[in-house]
Subunit: 242 residues, 2 copies
């Protein structure tokens, strides 16, 4: 039997947002590997081994998946959202470096948090935009600040992942300061928490009104560009720039 | 009977990448509105009216959807990929401006082209990135050039939609020139055409090797950042910046 690894995106939370492709991979799997709350989303069944692991051990998790596949297992590595956006796909390829043999690998896309959030809000990412991971675990904080300033100068709408954690609560306050300075107080900013789950909460305010505690690690934050506006309960970015 | 509009993302092409949520909306619809090739992806059935329309009439199409919903119809506006990324969601909200009454509106996310392409390539968007529509139908060309230069300075990976059309074949050649100048000749660039369809074609080259004719309007182009590398047949961007 030939083993394989599929790195699968479970989407933001709702079962209705899991693709049939990911469903099919899970149905064929012998092993599921991933961060504890994502593995908890997979229904247990006979013949399926679950390997939940803690946060911040992405490389070890990727190595485990490759080792299991080398032993002939059919392994699904589960990510929330899309596996290619601040999730497990890059970690898997990092773990592959220097190995002599690779199993069959497939990356199965999913609905990433910013697109689920944008859909609930309206269409704030309807024009050119960027996605920035605000965690400085794996990059220098100065690079985050530089990217924020350049993205503001480019007038990109911006989606922020991992805006705020207990270990660095001050970082997001600084992000809001920089954005207020670069984009002005009236720019719209939306906080979308746990979209498509029972804990979903959505709010849109101006940068002047934004407070760090409006975000936590389950929140994706979307900043409009200079043209982003409200219509009724919706927030959208027009397609055109005059 | 109360009408509604759902703007739904059909994903990049494969049925296995259509979410159950979008499937369910199509099953409840009385009317489907969209660009001809996207409406062609919806199976005809008794009681379902199909309203295909040509390219570049997004606002008229959005108005039709709102009018049908005002008449009590259950309308699905179909987009390729995700409706919020260079697709119909923004057009719908533009069409809503100035109307006295709005029907129930839902935006149903889908797998957008860049994430389907990234999954096939490996994980080129595994670090901070931006998405730029290279069509200058709705924005000045100078703004595209400005955004390219700032995105390069920020060292974003970049995904380009609508890279090349018959009406402006010279634009993408200019984009490649700017990127070569800003990112150097060795930067990896991937061309992903019609991902997940029978016409799928994928290739990765350096900027020095890239030619405008490697892209057409069915291609999404992904440029790596300065750390993007190959491992085996894969292209990925490491999660960390030292």
């Amino acid at each position: 039997m030939s083993g394989w690894v599929a790195v699968a995106g479970l989407g933001p939370g709702a079962e209705m947002l899991v693709t049939p492709e990911v469903r099919a991979a899970l149905a064929q799997a012998t092993d599921v590997v991933g961060y504890i709350p994502y593995v908890a989303r997979v229904a247990p069944r006979a013949g399926l081994a679950l390997h939940p692991s803690d946060n911040r051990v992405e490389l070890e998790r990727a190595r485990l998946a490759l080792d299991l596949a080398a032993d002939g297992k059919r392994v699904v590595v589960v990510s929330s959202g899309d596996p290619g956006v601040f999730a497990m796909a890059s970690a898997l390829f990092e773990a592959l470096e220097g190995r002599d043999a690779a199993p069959e690998i497939r990356i199965l896309p999913g609905i990433t948090a910013m697109l689920a959030a944008a859909a609930r809000l309206g269409a704030p990412l309807g024009h050119d935009f960027c996605a920035i991971n605000l965690s400085d675990n794996l990059k220098p904080w100065a690079l985050i600040e530089k990217r924020l300033r350049l993205a503001a100068e480019a007038d990109f709408a911006m989606a922020f992942y991992n805006p705020r954690s207990k270990s660095r609560p001050e970082g997001f306050a600084r992000v809001l300061e920089i954005l207020r300075e670069a984009c002005g107080p009236d720019r719209l900013i939306s906080f979308a928490r746990a979209v498509s789950t029972p804990d979903e909460a959505i709010r849109t305010v101006t940068l002047a009104e934004a407070r760090p505690e409006m975000a936590d690690m389950r929140t994706v934050v979307i900043l409009g560009n200079s043209a982003t506006r409200r219509v009724g309960p919706w927030v959208y970015t027009p397609r055109s720039v005059p």
